[in-house]
Subunit: 257 residues, 4 copies
């Protein structure tokens, strides 16, 4: 069998190494999840089962890729931040995005029943797409996360008000939509508080801020009374737009150049 | 919330549209499947459950992406051929590879128990990577498929002989490896035939040639006695290296320019 | 001197190899030549000195790059067609475009005075930009050339009529523009013929069709009475939109796959 | 004329925008200048006419591209640093490299006779290639310049010793090469000093360090006795490896993020 005769087709593969010394972000996004969530009767405005399954899948990804220092998730999306110096898959863009995307999807289906115990399996296989984006400076990477968190805030405030009008005031989706058209954040806060006694700031942080997974070295006690450091993935709902999170997690940005 | 302040980070996304009028191949490959197959006691040299699950997952991909005209699978890999003119995802390379890869993975986990009825679920979430490769001419695309099928042939002949030596002659893997070192195809055929009475050419075509999924228009009878054409995905184990398959499936290559 | 300490910066260079088995077109375009031609009093609508200088520079490029099989020029632009199989500069896109562009520019300045004998040198250094475009099929590459030649035809018919109205009928540019606004090709032909007795089809082919440089093997007589083949660059003003040129130059398209 | 029929070929052009907020370096390199310099009898080890012509051409480039804040040249190469925020040509890589490369080449040929008054024009058109490289951090960009300046130092020390052995000690090139084989910097300094009384550190800085072109705002006196700031290109031979130059030119690195 003349293997070599066809081997030439490998030369058509193109290189796609990411620029060195640059933050690599891989974001996975649910495909058609508006429909998927409706078909699986997701609770509105937030389904805690779905969010915990998303975070479970994201944790699987972080356990596999040690160079992901931070992940951020909200709604049907999760972003993974590889440290600037990573050499994972020689920084090949398509290798990174397809591996992260496949593992995330796989873990999502695999762990489904642990989070949706009353639905033995999804009605059909869910799909996530993936993309790789590069950010040269720490500020750009922080602004990326701020962009996603601001998006979370805006959507969640809207959805919370929208579904409260439907669930508590008995409105139709059309009526609720009409009322919210053109409103600012302050207006929505006011509707929630004055009409329903809801202080938006008391809503669960997971809904308002999304979920952060931070890799951190934590001390572990040893039998001899001493301690050793161990890398752990910590889940939290912090604000990433302000400076405080970054001061407390200065190890995330500390790099050689 | 100053949404616009962070919105600029979208400008860091790069375009990756595939060259027009070019065959787009997306190949998914099992990650660490040597280990995965051992841990799940795959039958050797071929596990028909695994192959049928792979083909099930590939069929899900073809049902979703109507512009995939042909798929070819063997071992733990599957290649999907998008027709030259496809505008799926505006031909964006990373969109195509991550969507195909995610759906394939998702369907693989989702349909697992239908193919492995005695193993309720895999021990852990399996992963596939994905890549996009472009082929400008029909001949290049055919040579790509020939490359994969020649690879299938070479590996399967080796594995068939290797596992026969172990399973039927009671050799250790080391002993079998030593015997096969440096042998040509003819030598392996001879070992199989003279020592074990096995005519390699009578081995199942699915093992020797891999699996083709071809999209084809087939006539469907109508109540009124007439027929209409319907697109169907046909599974077969043909030789793609020779010309016959391509003559019988000339619709695959027929395109405007 | 710690050379190695800084050497790492070479890793930031990215690969840009062109897809194999694909036509590579490098086009150079004059930058700001509307102004440049006015400042150097180019004759209107066509300055034969400029066109011959452009072709001189293009010939220098073809003499250097043996894998350019065809070049086409009009106005202040020239396109160079590398044969599909070229391995020049390992098909690196930026190497091809910058080398072609630099040599073209260099030859243009170098040979200036041979074509503009009354202007010893340009008023300032002229600039050309360059780009690389890939075309997978022969038809795509032919259509590229047809696009450029159609562009030449449209512009030249317009310019010929425009400048005739100015030069022969004493109109101002504004008046000529107003008359031509919204006219079709037939209208312009009619203006030229009925008002000025000019049959556009009798205008020089170089102006109407642009210039082709074709690499061709021609027989060269030997002292012993025999002949040998020699590669030569032939200048002609053929139509590349129809089939005739391609039939007469079938060697340009004849390639392995 | 069916223009639209061919217009589709424009879709085959690919986008190549440089990552935002990243230093863009365009380097032009003489092609075959070993031969070119020999054929034009360049003085050895350095020809001040050639270096001043290179710097003249580089200055033309900087006058055209206001977003080049710094250029560095040595031997037959020049590097141009665009500021991180530049939007020149929408940051399209091939536009930047071909325009810089063409203008540099054009100016080199155009101004030749001003620097080589005894050679009316070169024997043939010289060529420079160009490439674009991205550097995400200030340190990476500084290290790039350090790499080029270290290269200048190493080559110039070698060439100075090599040509001194030939020109002052009457050696053949082969003999000089043999003596220098395996020597370190200290050895070459010692040869120059002990055998020829040459203190390498007293050699012209332009030869030892290469040429920097820095864009700087300088005060210009006004008729009324006041001053206004004007952007100027300053030529100097500073060390870019240490910190001093960067402290004195802190405006080069000062940017928003």
């Amino acid at each position: 069998m003349a293997k070599s005769k066809f081997e030439y087709v490998r030369l058509f593969e193109s290189e796609d190494r990411c620029l060195p010394n640059t933050w690599i972000v891989v974001r996975v996004d649910g495909k058609g999840f508006h429909k998927f969530s409706a078909e699986h009767n997701y609770e509105k405005p937030n389904d805690i089962r779905s969010l915990s399954l998303m975070t479970h899948a994201a944790t699987s990804v972080m356990e596999e890729f040690k160079d992901i220092c931070l992940a951020y998730g909200q709604s049907d999306e999760y972003s993974f931040i590889f440290r600037k110096e990573t050499q994972a898959y020689s920084r090949r863009s398509s290798k990174l995005s397809t591996n992260v995307c496949s593992l995330f999807t796989s873990a999502f289906v695999y762990h489904w029943s642990e989070h949706f115990p009353t639905i033995s399996k999804p009605l059909y296989p869910p799909v996530f797409d993936g993309r790789t984006v590069l950010y040269p400076s720490d500020q750009n990477m922080r602004d990326y996360l701020s962009w996603r968190q601001a998006d979370c805030h805006i959507n969640n405030l809207y959805n919370t008000t929208f579904w409260t009008l439907i669930q508590k005031a008995g409105m139709s989706p059309n009526e609720a939509e009409k009322i919210l058209k053109g409103t600012l954040s302050g207006d929505k806060n006011e509707i929630l508080f004055s009409q329903f006694g809801i202080n938006y700031n008391n809503e669960p942080e997971m809904f308002r801020k999304g979920t952060l997974l931070v890799r951190r070295r934590v001390p572990v006690p040893l039998p001899n009374g001493g301690t050793r450091e161990k890398s752990q993935i910590i889940q939290q709902y912090a604000d990433v737009i302000g400076d405080e999170f970054w001061k407390e997690n200065s190890h995330l940005l500390a790099s050689s150049s």
